[in-house]
Amino acid sequence: MSERLWIRNGRVIDPASGRDAVGDVWVQEGKIAAAGQVGGAAAREIDATGLIVAPGLIDMHVHLREPGDEEEETIASGAAAALAGGFASVVCMPNTDPTIDNEATVDFVYRQGAAARQANVFAAGAITKGRAGQELAEMGQMVRGGAVAFTDDGAGVQSPAVLLRALRYARMFDKAILQHCQDEALAGSGVVNSGYWATVLGLPGMNALAEELMLYRDIQLARQAQGRYHAQHLSTRGSVEIVRQAKAEGARVTAEATPHHLLLTEESCQTYDANYKTNPPLRSSGDVEALRAGVADGTIDCLVTDHAPHLRNEKELEFLYAPFGIIALECAVGLYVKALIEPGVIDWARLMALLTVNPARVCGLAKGTLAAGADADITLIDPARRWRVEAGRFRSKSRNCPYDGWELAGRAVATIVGGEVRFQLQGD
């Protein structure tokens, strides 16, 4: 791609370099070019007046369902949804069928991603074979295939011995272990947060301690292993406190939060609408406040959608029987604005850090910056644009989006990948 781009007069926010000023960004040969170094034929000009020009956003926690559940999502449809939401890169989780737990399936993800030519798709490999929590998967082979991190997401690794081994082994490749913190014995058959609404609705509850105990345990294991540990989708006040404390003590731990845990509470489940059924479950308003505080003070490093597509007929089942998960790639930016910018929790520069350089560091991606020579992945955001979420028009194959009909402010208007404008918002 040798198109030259001149992105003019935007508010350029590049948290990796600390740049936050109105200016221009040049692209040549698929890379960010330094100003003044662009020569040759006239460039295609994009007027970014009033827009934020940021490194291509990264979502390090999405489910693209391929291989195995292509009726819910494919790598192509999920990557297109990502692009439409402003994400230039996504990291897909390995809880597919078959599990992404060997080099061949990792390679398959990259081939599908390349063929789709939408957002960049990176693969996270499973920690254990078949995500069964027993034997380590071939991490070395998967790293050779391009795996950027390891996780059994959907379930936590229950055995402390296995997790300790994984943390130590992954150190060899300098890859992070991403853990879905949930003690299965304690979480039981829960489908909502354990508390008032579980009691009123007569639904089995998931104890917050199921998350917190595993998180606490894991951090101790990671310390001993000197491994890189990343806690997925924190959902409770206690979890935020545990990570905050560990960071204060110098532990190598990072953490992420989702839009739904930053915006919604367990009260949403009172109509038994399974679009509010997620794992970890929606918690209390106190937990939402604690998560926002965790974002504000840097306890939480990354924002992720945990985009989890499901068929409509599955989500129309009884709450107890419907699968867990929410999709949000295509409205995520507006949701983050609502959860974090509008209430004054953080500013745009911090929000961009949580969506670019931070996840790039956790996953070891050479992405997330607008420095000269970097891949020209760029997202243009209109921070003032008011719009209405219409799940029916999503590029995703699924519709399990509880935000359908929400009025949001802030939307990605263009996504550039490798210097190529792959998404541009048309009209309204």
Binding site: T199, Y272, E318
Partner: protein
């Protein structure tokens, strides 16, 4: 007074609505005592008993209630859940609706199934017990029985004893009794209490039955589910009976006119000693009789509510 097309729970009912159902039931009770036990209120209407869970007494009670109001009753038994059957609840319900029915009475093992149903079909939905959520007609008949025996509900102290955590009967009783001004006491081991028992509108959560039994006007003894061994809330049946069973010995501490209630079927010798179950304080059979009158009232009222809601609006084909 009554505008509801469905009866999904007692939590959302106002005091006036509760009183209206109870008063309506009182009127219908008289029909059950006639030699010809029929009234034409639902003539030409079709009631479906859609039972996804085994139940004999609730189903029979609804069937009788519907037929005493001259409705046609369609019995539908679905063994196991909609998932195991392969047909979704939505599809089952829509198929029934296509047959031309007016009221669905649903019993289901999943909490919220009646809500789901009410959102996808046009006819009235009556919850006959959903998972661990509510069993509103049981709650109503319990309260009806208390009111009948005591003349009022307000100010009475009612203990609900047993597995509160998993009991839909307990939840419906709690909401209904609270709204009508009774004081509710939850009694049982901490392991059988829901996570947020103290946030429910109850006077106290109590683990010492003997400490409060003397103050109670009614004791609603829940059925203990032996089957629930997966996460048993008590170590043995023997221990449970000693701590929470209503024995002749324990009855000596109670008020002489205390009401002994049970939603049935009873485990004799477990939550209730036989002498107590069959004794003068027991309302168990009266509850069963009242159940028919209460369910007649509910069927009658939701049908009336549907007629009001549907007025001026074409029925969906």
């Amino acid at each position: 007074m009554w505008r509801r097309k469905h009866l999904l729970d007692l939590r959302s009912l106002s005091r006036e609505e509760l009183v209206h159902v109870l008063d309506t039931a009182e009127g219908f009770k008289e029909i059950s005592q006639r030699s010809v036990k029929k009234a034409p209120a639902l003539r030409g209407k079709v009631v479906v008993n859609l039972f996804f869970e085994d139940s004999t007494r609730t189903r029979n009670s609804f069937t009788l209630a519907a037929s005493r109001l001259s409705a046609d009753v369609l019995e539908f038994t679905a063994k196991g859940s909609s998932v195991s059957k392969g047909e979704t609840l939505r599809d089952t319900a829509r198929n029934l609706e296509a047959l031309g029915i007016d009221i669905v009475v649903i019993r289901h093992s999943a909490s919220g199934a009646p809500h789901l149903l009410s959102q996808c079909i046009d006819c009235s939905v009556v919850n006959a017990g959903d998972g661990q959520h509510e069993h509103p007609t049981q709650g109503l008949l319990d309260i009806f029985t208390i009111r009948e025996r005591r003349g009022q509900v307000e100010g009475l102290k009612v203990a609900i004893v047993g597995d509160i955590a998993h009991s839909r009967v307990a939840r419906s009783n709690i909401w209904g009794l609270h709204t009508l001004g009774a004081e509710v006491y939850l009694v049982g081991p901490p392991t059988l209490m829901p996570a947020a028992a103290e946030k429910l509108p109850v006077q106290a959560v109590c683990h010492d039955f003997d400490a409060i039994i003397g103050e109670m006007d009614a004791l609603n003894m829940l059925r203990i589910q032996f089957e629930r061994t997966e996460a048993a809330g008590f170590p043995s049946v023997r221990e449970y009976t000693r701590l929470f069973g209503l024995t002749v010995e324990r009855m000596k501490r109670a008020k002489p006119d205390v009401l002994v209630m049970h939603p049935g079927p009873i485990n004799r010798g477990l939550e209730l000693e036989s002498e107590v179950a069959d004794g003068p304080n027991s309302t168990i059979l009266q509850q069963v009789s009242n159940g028919v009158a209460v369910r007649m009232a509910v069927l009658f009222l939701v049908n009336q509510g549907a007629a009001q809601a549907g007025r001026g609006r074409p029925r969906r084909s």
